[in-house]
């Protein structure tokens, strides 16, 4: 670590900056979390052995713990010491890392997303974490670990308006000399959607958000487990109490199983609601002239922004519970190439508006893709052979299997459960068929699918990356084909279309892409 690593105030007019002292807190906490995540198994083994052997009594325990804490605190301080950043000639430059030095030089125009995050431990300060996302791989992500909110917002505005300039620059040679007052109206925000706690509770009920809680509780599983069994005991639900002897009536057993399941469901549902409220509390979706900005969070505040022109696909998804409650989850999806699967919460490639009502969904869809007819356009159903194929390849084998299995126990009566299963599965296939549909207009392609709830997708024809038509031997004989549109945000496929129609769709989409030559970004 020589002098070359020192910030050089000499070069350029912007000096390198050090972070405020709060950032040490950030480094300490993130190192701790990383440590816990890496050694979670070791820690739980240790926690277990604490109960069996007397590790706490060992002479090494306290000194070991103290050393660990000191090391973590020191590493936090070191990370702070070696972290410098500056904003310089429309570039963000960051130098960080103690052992592995990392230099990041990120031009404004390459920054695709600017996220302002406020972890809970920053909530009492005026600081935030600024996350800069590029279109490239996840490794290129840069973080300014502690920056005042005002500065963060200022920088975000600068970066976002640089993006606008960049677009203008493409046709003109006028370099980026846009004045402040010209860019500011671009950035005036209007809130176009809010989610109340009621909506979030619905969202928690209809979507499994348990993992938010589960993830946070991971280090304490053992304790929770034993506490839970203690509580069951107290409730009189313990196995030992219920089954003192081997003579247990079947109804007792089933009652036990049912009450346990209800209990589990209840706990899951409340955990899920809590998770939804924690992540999406005070949810707002705002819009500037060309961008959507999502803000939410009870403890840690999240801010994700997405450019409207980068939306590849709008998905409005529903499961059966959403369908009953007349709600849907709306996603604006953008390019996700080169990213690892991200958690929905932190994902910048998907912008979720949780549990919106139908009118809200319509408004948002119209906003994201103007003049789309997602809710009006008549969908063409897929071919009826979809049903017969799934009856043959899906319903028939499963029902026969059940028939065979039940025959051993029930004899001829085995027909009943097999028949029941066949009826249920056929119903599912039929409903599935009824939901599938595709439609196209001059600008967009629409796809509808689902079982009970209806999923709707809408994408601009000119943003398609690739088209695939596929058919099996049987489908070829019937002149049917599946079609798949590859978008930067993933694929959309529709099965069992008449071959001519699939061909027309493919021709049409290719023509639209190739003749318009419009950008997909």
């Amino acid at each position: 670590m020589g002098d070359s690593d020192r910030p050089q105030t000499g070069t350029g007019n912007t000096p390198w900056q050090r972070l405020p002292l709060v950032s040490i807190l950030y480094f300490i906490i993130s190192t701790t979390l990383q440590f816990v995540r890496q050694f979670i198994v070791a820690i739980s083994v240790l926690a277990y052995s604490v109960s069996s052997t007397d590790i706490q009594g060992s002479t090494f325990f306290i000194p070991g713990l103290v050393v660990l804490v000191i090391v973590i605190i020191c590493s936090g301080f070191m990370s702070f010491w070696f972290y410098h950043y500056r904003v310089h000639h429309r570039h963000v430059e960051i130098r960080s890392g103690v052992l592995k030095r990392r230099n990041i030089n990120l031009p404004f125009w390459r920054i695709q997303n600017v996220k302002i995050e406020r972890p809970f431990y920053y909530r009492l300060t005026q600081y935030a974490v600024l996350v800069l996302d590029t279109a490239g791989s996840a490794e290129e992500e840069a973080k300014i670990v502690a920056i005042t909110i005002a500065d963060a917002q200022g920088l975000r505005q600068q970066i976002l308006s640089a993006g606008d300039n960049d677009q203008d620059d493409q046709d003109g040679d006028a370099p980026s000399e846009k004045s402040e007052n010209e860019t500011s109206p671009l950035l005036t925000e209007t809130v176009i959607n809010r989610r109340e706690v009621k909506d979030l509770i619905l969202h928690g009920l209809t979507n499994n958000r348990v993992w938010i809680i589960l993830g946070a509780l991971a280090p304490f599983y053992d304790d929770i487990g034993s506490a839970f069994y203690g509580w069951l005991d107290a409730m009189g639900l313990s196995l030992e109490v219920l089954f003192p002897s081997e003579q247990v009536a079947w109804w007792q057993l089933s009652l036990y199983v049912i009450s346990l399941m209800l209990l589990a469901l209840g706990i899951m549902a409340s955990a899920s609601v809590a998770g939804a409220v924690i992540t999406y509390y005070n949810y707002t979706l705002s819009r500037t002239s060309d961008r959507y900005i999502r803000r939410s969070g009870l403890f840690s505040l999240q801010e994700v922004s997405m450019r409207q022109s980068r939306i590849q696909k709008i998905s409005i998804k529903q499961d059966w519970l959403d369908y009953l409650l007349k709600r849907a989850n709306l996603f604006f999806e953008q390019n996700k190439t080169g990213r690892q699967a991200e958690q929905e919460l932190h994902s910048t490639s998907k912008l979720l508006v949780p549990s919106v009502t139908y009118p809200e969904a319509k408004i948002l869809a119209m906003d994201g893709m103007p003049a789309n007819q997602l809710y009006q356009i008549p969908f063409t159903r897929i071919h009826r052979r979809f049903i017969s194929r799934y009856l043959f390849w899906f319903v028939l084998p499963i029902s026969s299997l059940i028939l065979a299995l039940a025959y051993v126990e029930l004899g001829v009566l085995a027909v009943l459960p097999a028949l029941a299963m066949a009826v249920v599965l056929s119903g599912i296939v039929y409903v599935r068929w009824r939901r599938w549909g595709i439609a196209i207009d001059t600008q967009y392609c629409y796809v509808r699918k689902g079982l009970v709830g209806i999923d709707r997708y809408c994408f601009a024809l000119h943003k398609v990356q690739q088209v695939v038509i596929s058919q099996s031997l049987f489908m070829r004989r019937r002149d049917l084909a599946n079609i798949r549109f590859i978008l930067a945000s993933g694929e959309v496929s529709v099965p069992f279309l008449p071959y001519q129609q699939a061909l027309y769709l493919a021709n049409r989409v290719l023509w639209e892409v190739e003749s318009q030559r419009r950008s997909w970004m």
Binding site: P370, I469, S470, Y504, L510, V513, R517, W520
Partner: protein
């Protein structure tokens, strides 16, 4: 929404360029031969191992292993033959077509696929040549667009000169590199 210009022109299906009229060209015949060679080699090696296990005079084998080698002797040649036949005919189905604005590839014996990749959306191109490809003078053309690794458009088994020509054609396209 500065770049969204609303347009609502009518498009008649007859005037659209038609994928059904693509003039497909087969890939190199050597590709099928190389693949056939691979299948035959692997089958032979497996067969030799099974034979060796069964008839080696050195030790007495545990009973289950002995039984497995017996089934191996029956199953390996059958599977190998089936695979070779399938591979041979499937490879003959791989064909590609170029148009001014897009590349297409069709393949598949039981499940037939037609993939079309607009050149405008291509982000970068790679020519890949494994050791066997080099031996046979072949190359694999890979074309990447923003759709994820699972959707890489790929023409295998092109004669190297041909592959380079296609690559040049794509690179020379005026829309390449447009976002």
């Amino acid at each position: 929404m500065s770049d969204e210009v609303f347009s609502n022109k009518t498009v008649s299906p007859q005037t659209l360029p038609d994928l059904a009229e693509l003039a497909f060209a087969p890939i190199s015949a050597a590709y099928g031969k190389v693949n056939l060679g691979i299948v035959v080699t692997i089958t032979t090696v497996l067969l030799l191992i099974a034979l060796g296990v069964r008839f080696q005079p050195f030790t007495v084998l545990p009973a289950p292993l002995f039984a497995v080698s017996y089934y191996g002797l029956m199953v390996i040649p059958i599977m190998g033959t089936l695979l070779a036949v399938y591979q041979w005919f499937a490879d003959k189905q791989i064909k590609y077509a170029l148009r001014e604005q897009d590349l297409s590839l069709t393949q598949g014996l039981i499940f037939r696929r037609l993939v079309s990749q607009p050149i405008l959306r291509i982000q970068h191109i790679e020519l890949k040549r494994g050791p066997l490809d080099r031996l046979a003078g072949l190359a694999k053309l890979q074309v990447f667009s923003a759709g994820g690794a699972g959707h890489t458009f790929e023409i295998p088994g092109l004669p190297i000169a041909q592959a380079q020509k296609i690559r040049q054609f794509i690179l020379a396209h005026k829309d390449i590199g447009a976002r």
